[in-house]
């Protein structure tokens, strides 16, 4: 039993290091996916709980990050899609594209980071996931496809559509010029 106990303690230590080490980055990714602080915390905690259950297998795998990303994307797709729409979607229920590419009010809203978050939140979930994984997580198309459980073609399509909608934010160019606003 001594060996078993020792192995468990080693696994526990490794998991603790993993949680503490990855928490900041996972929180940022979850924030971009959910658009909301508490929803991001819930998403990361739920993801790590599931990781804990499978840690014996995941911890010894070559790429535990890939497993965690997959769990997070699945959990996001399952739990946060509807909630986010309710939380951030404009009351006017017209089409998303038109919302993003709308008139002068949008320009004013795009003057700070929340405009980007809001635009991100208005993307359909698969487009949002593709954009966040490709442009924030810096994953390749293949890695993104693995995380999303879809084909590379679907990643390309979702990322391209998502990016096109973000580009359509009238104030985005100005934000870029100023390097974002602090």
């Amino acid at each position: 039993m001594g060996d078993r106990k020792e192995a468990r303690e080693t696994r526990d230590d490794a998991f603790q290091s993993f949680v503490i080490g990855r928490w900041p980055r996972l929180m940022r990714t979850a924030f971009l996916l959910t658009g909301e602080q508490h929803a991001a915390e819930d998403l990361v905690q739920s993801t790590l709980e599931q990781t804990f259950v499978a840690w014996r297998k995941v911890g010894s795998a070559d790429d535990p990050e890939a497993y965690v990303r997959r769990v997070m994307i699945n959990a996001h797709a399952r739990k946060h899609r509807r909630r986010l729409k309710e939380f951030l979607a404009p009351k006017d229920d017209s089409g998303l594209v038109r919302e993003v590419a709308d008139t002068g009010d949008r320009i004013a809203q795009a003057e700070d980071r929340s405009a980007l978050l809001q635009a991100l939140a208005q993307l359909p979930p698969r487009q949002r996931e593709a954009v966040v994984l490709r442009y924030w997580e810096d994953l390749t198309e293949t890695q993104t496809a693995q995380a999303m459980g879809c084909s590379v073609g679907a990643v390309k399509s979702n990322a391209a559509k998502g990016i096109a909608k973000l580009r359509a934010i009238p104030g985005l160019a100005e934000m870029v010029t100023h390097g974002g606003r602090k």
Binding site: P24, Q45, L48, L117, Y135, T140, I163
Partner: protein
């Protein structure tokens, strides 16, 4: 962060990556809630283990499972409290079935030309950590594993059961399992059940097989199916014939509760189960 691994990127893509990084900084990182993650993870592992392949776990009852006080049985007679029963238990771990489970067949039948069985293995409660550690090793040799498989001390003082279904000559498949204190017996109309498919090839198939625990006093359980039909399981004595045409509530060796199995007709699925008498 930039997405510059791929060649086909415009400046705007890169800028969007920068803006995303900037937006991501809006979140308050805080301290990683490690202990909460561990607690949540253990709960998930326990739930997953308790359910195994059975779904639709239902726990009904208001007694909280405690049956320490004298209870009235369905026939009005006094039911012997679990604690009194425990006092008469044998003392060696072998006699208490700590290292070898007592197995009872709860039901059997034929599905698509193959015979299926539902059995329950009941492992006696270890009294010390050493007994628990030896029990865990023995469970492992039986291909049975409690949810807290790394923590044998969690088994001390608890009876552990594994409900399995075997089809034909295939490997038994875990349907339900749990480790419970002997004081946590069921009482009155308490019922804990899980529904599963009978088709060994389809874990998502219609849930026609219902297995559950009820109090020793329960005389009748009614399983209701989605098509509106119902099956009544009635209490039989230990060792009574296993008859695939009749649902039954029967005792299982080593278990402080009785067990029932209902099977729905082909084409329907589980809706509910309750103690009706």
């Amino acid at each position: 962060m930039s997405a510059d691994r791929e060649t086909n990127q415009t400046m705007t893509d890169r800028d969007i990556a920068l803006l995303l990084a900037d937006a991501a900084d809006e979140v308050e990182i805080g301290i990683a809630p490690y202990q909460a993650v561990i607690r949540g993870g253990r709960r998930r592992r326990a739930r997953r283990w308790a359910l195994a392949t059975a779904t639709a776990l239902v726990i009904v009852g208001t007694s909280g499972g405690l049956a320490l006080a004298g209870l009235r049985g369905g026939d009005g007679g006094e039911v012997t409290p679990a604690v009194t029963q425990r006092a008469t238990q044998p003392s060696t771990p072998e006699e208490r079935h700590v290292y070898t489970p007592q197995q009872t067949t709860l039901a059997a039948g034929i599905e698509q030309g193959e015979t299926w069985y539902v059995t329950v293995d009941v492992w006696g409660a270890p009294r010390t950590e050493a007994e628990a550690a030896a029990q865990l090793r023995s469970m492992s040799s039986h291909h049975e594993e409690p949810w807290d498989r790394d923590n044998s001390s969690a088994l001390v003082g608890k009876i552990t059961y594994f409900v399995q279904r075997a089809v034909g000559t295939g490997e038994p498949e875990l349907l339900m399992g749990d480790s419970v204190s002997p004081q946590d017996t069921m009482a009155g109309t308490d019922l804990k059940s899980g529904a599963s498919t009978l088709d060994p090839k389809k874990t998502e198939g219609p849930q026609r097989l219902v297995v559950g625990q009820v109090a020793k006093t329960a005389q009748e359980v009614t399983c209701t199916w989605k098509d509106g039909s119902s099956t009544v399981a009635r209490r039989v004595e230990a060792g009574a014939d296993i008859n695939s045409d009749e649902a039954a509530i029967r005792p299982a060796a080593g278990s402080l509760d009785n067990w029932f199995v209902c099977v729905g007709a082909a084409g329907t699925a589980y809706e509910s189960a309750e103690v009706t008498k």
